[in-house]
């Protein structure tokens, strides 16, 4: 591995590394963020999909394993057993790292300092996205199989309730408003988004109507973005992005996309990543051509976005003002990157 030792306590922008889990080759590929130079790769286990940083380490969720992989500053690679297959999404709370085990019914709680499994928290089957309240005391985990959003007390490592997202719901995306007062979940099967109350009483199974509001969205929704006053939900099947206010009252339906998968705030504008079209398009209509369609994107400072072109085995850095900065070939199926 090269390039890893360039890290320092205060790296300059030129020192930053884009670490990209590449699902098809079981590698974490490293690129110089400013130039796209391929710096090397780290074998990290089966089907790496998402990466995060925590306590000076890069941690990779390897969906094909019952473990996550941590790479420390010296380049040492450590696998941390989760015991359950399908580590997928990360969230940090109370100094611990939570990872959803999407092929099971648990969240693994990891001490990212000691690199050990601390606990497993039972949740609804096939947890996917997780979101943490601003104060870190509550974590919300969406269950794809059971159609609920589980509420976890992060102090006690315990599920304290579950918010039923509706009959036959398949919960994919979960997000909280920045103030933490309102939660949202995407029901992929029902093509809807629901809003739920957070706080001490959230998720109580005795609450008759745990859903605060709901709204229809475009077909095959997956992810969502919640801001202080807006909720955006891409509908992959219909090529639309629904925009709501905080109460899920409709504001606009943005159409004309091919397969919108994510909405990112970059340079004071909202940009839509399209998995079937080689471009970024803002909700205001601005367009930036890219080298290929992108499946996952990571905002980078300075009005830039790192894009993983999953189907084309490429990674690129795109400036929303000036276009593509660089494009680099990657190992197979690059996925959710992290800037280190």
């Amino acid at each position: 591995m090269t390039g890893w030792d360039k890290q320092s306590d205060a790296p300059s922008p030129a020192d930053r590394v884009l670490a990209v889990p590449c699902e098809g080759d079981d590698l974490l590929a490293l690129f110089a963020l400013d130039t796209g130079e391929r710096l090397g790769e780290v074998p990290v286990g089966s089907h790496p999909v998402h990466a995060t940083t925590c306590r000076g380490r890069t941690v990779v969720a390897t969906m094909g394993d019952r473990a996550v992989t941590a790479v420390d500053a010296s380049g040492e690679v450590t696998q941390i057993e989760t015991g359950v297959l399908g580590p997928s999404h990360f969230a940090a709370a109370n100094g611990e790292l939570y990872v959803s085990c999407s092929a099971g019914d648990a969240l693994a709680v990891i001490d990212s300092e000691r690199l050990t499994l601390v606990d497993r928290v039972a949740v609804g089957a096939e947890p996917h996205e997780v979101a943490v309240a601003p104060d870190g005391d509550r974590l919300y985990s969406g269950s794809r199989r059971e159609g609920v959003v589980d509420v976890v007390d992060t102090e006690r490592h315990e599920r304290i309730g579950a918010i039923d997202a509706g009959p036959d719901a398949r919960v994919q995306g979960v997000a909280l408003s920045p103030d933490g007062d309102r939660g949202y979940a995407v029901d992929q099967r029902g093509a809807r988004v629901v809003a739920f109350e957070t706080g001490d009483n959230s998720g109580s199974l005795s609450v008759e109507e745990p859903i605060h509001a709901e709204a229809a969205v475009g077909a095959d929704p997956y992810d969502l973005v919640a801001t202080g006053d807006r909720v955006f939900v891409p509908g992959r099947g219909d090529g639309v992005v629904h925009e709501f206010d905080r109460e899920l009252d409709p504001i606009a339906v943005h159409d004309g996309f091919s397969r919108p998968v994510d909405v990112l705030e970059v340079a004071d504008d909202w940009w839509v990543l399209d998995a079937s079209a080689p471009r970024l398009r803002s909700l205001d209509g601005a367009v930036v051509e890219t080298s290929a369609p992108g499946l996952v994107a990571t905002p980078v400072s300075g009005g830039r976005i790192a894009i993983s072109h999953y189907d084309d085995d490429r990674v690129s850095l795109v400036d929303v003002e000036s276009g593509t900065v660089w494009t680099a070939k990657s190992p197979a199926y690059p996925f959710g990157s992290v800037v280190v």
Binding site: R66, G83, V84, L85, G104, V121, R145
Partner: protein, 359 residues
Amino acid sequence: MTRETPNADGDAENATRRGLLRAAAGATVAGAASTAGCLSVTTPADVAARNDVSGNVAHFVGPSWLADNREDTVVLDARDPERFREQRIYRARRVPFDAITAREATDDVGEGDVPDTDAIASAFGEIGVTPDDDVLVYGASVGSRVTRVAFALAAVGHEGSIRVLNGGLSAWNGRLGTGSRDRVSPTEYEPDPAASTWVTREWLADRIGTFNGDGPGLVDVRVPEAYLAAAGSDALNADHDRHGHLPGAVDVHWVGNVAGRRMTDPGRLVRLYEVDAELDRSEPVVVYGDDNVDPTSTWLTLKAIGFEDVRLYDGGFGEWANVEGDRGRYPVETATNVVIETEGSVGGDDDGGDFSCTG
């Protein structure tokens, strides 16, 4: 009533009879020994011969073995009382099936259910079995009712040999009995619990994440639909809080162990478990089923083909899925691609459930 003695000339007589029948049918083709020359005619000797077991296979024996060893073997009938009364191997003793499936909770330490060896031993004692008897178990075939009896004997630390009649009662061409059971003198069967034949829920929980990897093998014997928690499938047990399988378990549906009324060809079984499922015969392997899916067929099959340390999780998926308390310690997986295709066919004709697994 006189006791039947094995007919030492039986095989020769059977061969002579087959020859007559072939000649009458005009059969002249060598190798046509499985029929009497006309379609759908099969002699008892043919059936018996088909169910003989050769090669390095433990526990399973054919009718000829039993004929040769009848005097020295205690024969246990695993079928239900009605079938037993109707017809059985002469002087076979009927196993009180419910009693030998007894489990006891280890609530004091919360480890889950384990075989109740006192109750099981008492049940064997009721039918006059002693710990050093050489025992042969039969049923309508070689399904889980039979293998459950074999496991129960192993669990109480039975010292004598434990064998199963390949092909079941229909393969037997020796003397038959009927009517009420013969009188036998009960014994005091003192169990010597063989805890190495089973594992507990806590034993498994301590090893989560290691199965079929660095740790023991783990085999789920249920249908793939149950293993994968297929939504809407009839295979899902509605009484369970959760569906899926224990993390890391490989699914090999138990029907792959049987071909009609007999055990599957041993060579095919070795391929199934060692090549396809990638189990290591020298390492411990745990098998589990569910409330209505008895894993003992796989337990005995693995032992028969040479696996050295096979253990049963008798609490099964039901106990695991419905455990109270911290379920994070007992996670369930719903997705994997480790499903081994099996080709077994299910034989047996008794509603007592020789292959229904419910007993």
